[in-house]
Symmetry: C2
Subunit: 542 residues, 2 copies
């Protein structure tokens, strides 16, 4: 089954997965459709909402309609797109054992012409003990082996579910074992409850545990995820496929989904949406409708909100702005910010898979953005791979100016005259030190920053200077030029204390504004002392 990845950002990707009913562009969300009764008819989903794929429950069809009843699920649901079927594992989770065997499930899905089938697994759930969780992993692997033998149709894409609940080591083991068995899609089982309880740090751990043990060239499905506010987060961690009944379950409880959270219809006065459902009406009018119509309205809006979020995510990947989108979404709820910050724990896995350059600049907000793969990779390259000029004895740190090319050229001219023992470097949040040779490289020149770095960013900048100096032992002295801007003064002070700790000479110069710096004169100053007579130097062209 071919899966072609066309664009990447963070760990997210836009891909095309080939099924027997046509190409499926990912990331995508399969709405869960009850085979026996639907709030939105599948054809309306396809034609009006632009929904190209759905998922339904083979177990329910088999049980109610009987094996003889359905020969093609596409005809049965009147849906001309791609249809995935779930095995009934969710029913196990909810109601205990079901009455079908792993083999029957395969046979039945094959008989109804499903496009994407799921083997019968044993969901762990989020409240399982570790012993029970391990048991579900073992049992799912056993059933995977049975399923592999039972499968006769290779034109159907088969999904291998990963179990292990909230135990990352079990998830990792489960992923490794399923990967050996070669499925067309891998799916992380039972995160629904984790998401319902807003345990996004656990979710991040579970996704990383699974993804790092699976081939990255295979689509990865997150079972039961369908609230628009967390989709960008999940895509950024590498999830390609989602399925969810949230759009209709929430609708039945008069809930209105947005990419920033859930609203209660009962309290709403305005629809913050221009979709086909919302554009022509008001909350007041919808409240007055009979319950069935109200649920239909909300289901349509909710599904539309999910699909719109998928488009938003895809466009963000195209623009190289997926990280920025997750920054925004992580302010939808403190728990999602927790999950987003958890990325720090998985930095190595994160940067390994993420692209290192961008079509566009990056936005840096605060210390949360320190986890950005672009920044982590920059720092890594700087400390691990970069070699300063051999003659460099003095590192001259100058605040970067953003005032256009002219300034930078004049600064370069200055640098050309500089004694070879002086190595000109720049600093600008979040970058503590950027050798001038790297001045025009990504991501330094392409980072938009706030005027003031937050204290944690400033600390990270100083820490970068420390790591850089610890590795490059040529330097004997450090000069930090700073303006009267408070953060620059603090940065200079932090650099001073680092130098003292490392036995390096330290000098700081205060200037009114960065463009006052005349580097060729500055470095000709004879004496490098430990203390700066700031008053004397303020405002002078150095």
């Amino acid at each position: 089954m071919s899966f072609e990845i066309n664009q990447r950002d963070v760990l997210g990707r836009i891909g095309v997965f080939e099924t027997k009913s046509g190409k499926l562009e990912t990331p995508t969300l399969f709405p869960v459709v009850n085979p026996l009764a639907q709030e939105i008819p599948p054809r309306i989903m396809f034609e009006r909402l632009g929904c190209k794929a759905l998922i339904t429950n083979a177990y329910l069809i088999g049980r109610r309609a009987g094996n003889a009843g359905v020969t093609d699920i596409h005809d049965f649901l009147d849906f001309p797109g791609i249809i995935a079927t779930d095995s009934g594992a969710y029913q196990i989770l909810r109601y205990g054992e079901v009455e079908v065997s792993p083999l029957e499930v395969i046979q039945y899905q094959e008989s109804i012409q499903t496009d994407i089938g799921v083997i019968l697994d044993v969901p762990t759930g989020s409240r399982a003990s570790k012993t029970h969780a391990a048991e579900t992993v073992r049992e799912t692997i056993k059933r995977a082996d049975q399923a592999q033998k039972a499968i006769t149709r290779r034109d159907i894409a088969w999904v291998g579910p990963i179990q292990g609940g909230t135990f990352p080591d079990l998830v990792a083991h489960s992923a490794r074992e399923m990967a050996k068995r070669g499925f067309d899609i891998y799916a992380l089982g039972s995160p629904t409850e984790v998401m319902e309880q807003y345990l996004f740090t656990d979710l991040a751990d579970m996704i990383f545990a699974a993804k790092t043990n699976l081939p990255s060239s295979t689509p990865f499905h997150l079972f039961g995820a369908g609230h628009p506010f967390m989709l960008a987060f999940a895509v950024a961690l590498g999830c390609d496929l989602f399925d969810s009944a949230a759009y209709v379950l929430y609708a039945r409880r008069d809930r209105y989904l947005t990419s920033a959270g859930t609203l209660h219809l009962a309290q709403m006065e305005y629809f913050p949406c221009r979709c086909n459902a919302c554009a022509k009406t008001s909350p007041d009018e919808v409240r007055s409708r009979p319950i069935i119509e109200r649920t239909q309205f909300l289901a349509e809006h909710n599904l539309s909100a999910c699909l719109q979020e998928i488009e938003t995510i895809k466009e963000a990947i195209v623009e190289g702005r997926l990280w920025e989108l997750v920054e925004v979404r992580s302010r939808s709820h403190p728990s999602l910010l927790d999950g987003f910050r958890r990325i720090g724990k998985h930095q190595a896995d994160m940067t390994r898979g993420a692209p290192s350059t961008k079509p566009k600049g990056i936005f840096y907000f605060d210390s949360t953005s320190l986890q950005r793969p672009e920044y982590v990779m920059y720092l890594d390259r700087l400390v691990r791979d970069y070699e300063p000029p051999k003659a460099a004895k003095t590192a001259l740190l100058v605040p970067a100016t953003r005032q256009g090319l002219e300034d930078r050229v004049s600064m370069h001219t200055g640098l050309a005259n500089v004694d070879r023992s002086t190595h000109a470097c720049l600093y600008d949040p979040p970058y503590g030190i950027v050798p001038s040779e790297l001045e025009d490289t990504f991501p330094f020149r392409h980072t938009e920053i706030p005027r003031e770095p937050d204290p944690e960013t400033l600390k990270a900048m100083a820490e970068a200077v420390r790591m850089y100096l610890a590795k490059n032992r040529y330097y004997r002295s450090i000069i930090v030029v700073h303006s009267s801007k408070d953060w620059q003064t603090r940065f200079a002070r932090m650099c001073g204390s680092i130098c003292r700790g490392m036995g390096l000479r330290f000098l700081s110069y205060k200037v009114r504004k960065p463009s006052d710096i005349r580097i060729e004169i500055l470095v000709n100053q004879k004496k490098h002392t430990d203390k700066t007579d700031k008053r004397k130097l303020i405002g002078r062209k150095l």
Copy 2:
């Protein structure tokens, strides 16, 4: 002219402004309509886009069509809603002096039956020297006096423009002088360039300078603001009305507006929008259209995005979640985050106007949220107004549990047995100290927080403890109970150093989890020492 404010959040409000052509709900955005040629016909704006008001240029109509040509602007534009007319001041800013007098401008606007008219002012612009800026303020005030004499129709709402550019003292002076002259609407002039350059800290300063010197019961208009990504920010600072040609100016340059920023049609592959314009097509298809149709498409989408954002803002006010919306939007661009953080400088003005309770809980993300009016007011009340029980000699700080009522009740039972000299208090980010009597009050019990406070929040918590202890001198000793959570340990340590600085006895107890605390036993411990034998106490039920 009546303006009724119905709902408030932060400094934003939902109001109804009465005009002679009907009621106008605020906040609202007037699209700027060229009287002589429109990308979207005004009737389409009204009927399809749900746009109830627009603004057009009286100067251009007067100049091109001649005074005799137009007797009712509503008929001329074929727009059944509310029409505001601008005086031509924008043309002064762009092209220098115009050929009409302040009196003619009033007369002409009256003759065409405008609903909202603007007097002829002298825009300062953002690049003016202070001398020139002061001159524009003086001249605008002079013209305001001339205008007041010329006005014959009081059924028209007249707008008094505030000038002064980026000089807050001049803006404040201008606002005070205009306020004396009693206009129906006040408008902050010429922030367009400030916004084009993303100088949102300057914009915040300008808005505060104007708003704090104007009657809050009058609508406040921000001239030339119309990018959806900054509207929530401006509303949160107290702006009610906006006008903008951005939707069409951006459209002509193939730009696509979203509430998170601007996209270039040329690079887009997906529309992150489900509005009437976007739902049925794709960027590829739109690119293939002739330029006029393409511009029309983009103008319609852009205007729709602005109007949707206004609805989003209004719903956020209804939900008491406007601050949260601005948190989200401020991650659209680092410069907007700068502007958002600038609120800290205007804390007193901010909290004076904001409601102190909420229909819903509040979300706390990181130190940026420390500026929330609800938090600032809480801290203010605690330090200024709260009196601890007179007998209190020991403050016992216990981490709050969020594990439901049962725990809290058992804790209370514990407290009931406590010696009266021990005063039980709670802590939970961002609240450094919450006397148990206030445990169930807003906002403490209604704050959703991340699992881990950021370092700046932790600092603010300790600072709150310091301020509280400095005011309430009854306490002789402080006991901080903490779990093994890293942030709690650090908080306890910070409290310890505060106590040492103030000469108070300090004791910390480490417990495995907060529910291990048995306070009645804890306070019966005889010795309060400065150092804790942590190992001995870990895991024991105290």
